[in-house]
Symmetry: C2
Subunit: 196 residues, 2 copies
Amino acid sequence: MGRIQTLNNSSRKEIIVEKAANLFKEKGYKAASMRDLAEVVGVEAASLYNHIKSKSELLHVICLDVANRFTNKIDEVEAEELSAKEKIEILLRFHIQEMLNNYEDVIVSDREWKHLSEPYLSNFRHQRKTYRKRFAAIIEEGIKKKEIKKIDASTAVLIMLHAVSGIESFHRSKQKISGKELEENMVTILINGLAK
Amino acid sequence: MGRIQTLNNSSRKEIIVEKAANLFKEKGYKAASMRDLAEVVGVEAASLYNHIKSKSELLHVICLDVANRFTNKIDEVEAEELSAKEKIEILLRFHIQEMLNNYEDVIVSDREWKHLSEPYLSNFRHQRKTYRKRFAAIIEEGIKKKEIKKIDASTAVLIMLHAVSGIESFHRSKQKISGKELEENMVTILINGLAK
DNA sequence: CCTACCGATCGGTAGG
DNA sequence: CCTACCGATCGGTAGG
């Protein structure tokens, strides 16, 4: 009984976080109210607080989860024996796939992280900065090994990460092309843009 | 006297719009309060309403102004006798320069347009959609003339426009490279990515 | 341009 | 999970 209760509570919380991500994406964190959230969850606003501590908890659960997924991926990629160009392609494809499959969380994390409260704000900033540095280091390595044309590595990271965030518009369009096609198009343009 | 008054009023309004753009960029439209704005302008909140009609007016002045700048530019580019590839490069450079020089307005327009009220919201959406279609048409033309590799034109537009928005991070960084260098790097990667 | 103030809405709590 | 309610803050107005 106690276990069932716990299971219900945790899945209820997951539902709330999921609905919150959708709402934060649609209206923005500040404009989305807990009453809005309660409505889509199907309870009164006060009842949400039996599952979560605060509105800000919802945001940092979403942002930290996204940040961790990317950090884990780059850990994995760095450990492999691959050329810089291959590593970049794997990371790029991972970003694209995340935007295709978990785009609500990723968009919220990208766009609303400024509303994080401390210490989550500092943690997030640090994790993001570190991720970009590690990504840039892979590009530098590729430049040194002449796999990639001589450009500013930070600029290249910046272009790739932001280009991928454009996939949001793809979700809103009539989707004339498939996700796989979109991925191949993006990889073609960006990897070719970098290639020597 | 009446004329001086009018002049003062209009420049006062321009100052308010400028400070608003900065504030909306920093905190987001919803999180930025009129009291915050009053403070940076150096007056009481109520006094702002002698110069502007509402908070939402500030947002639509910013967004429509940005949208018009890009529409005017594509009008100009379309009228010229140039190859598709040249047209794309001109537009891309214009986007980069706007992000380097008027980035606060551009970022607000990009990120906060969802908070526009009607009829400005519909107008903005329409103008933006039209702009992207016209940009995509230039790319299609380039593909047809074999100047550009065979890719989905909408995806290419999406990548370029979003890649440019990454310049925001550049403003926040220590700016190891110059604006001109950044521009050349971005053009190199993106134009090469598209080139056949 | 200011003081004084408004109704609405916000995130969140108490108590059951 | 709900009713009832809180203090804070919001955009904006009246009146001078």
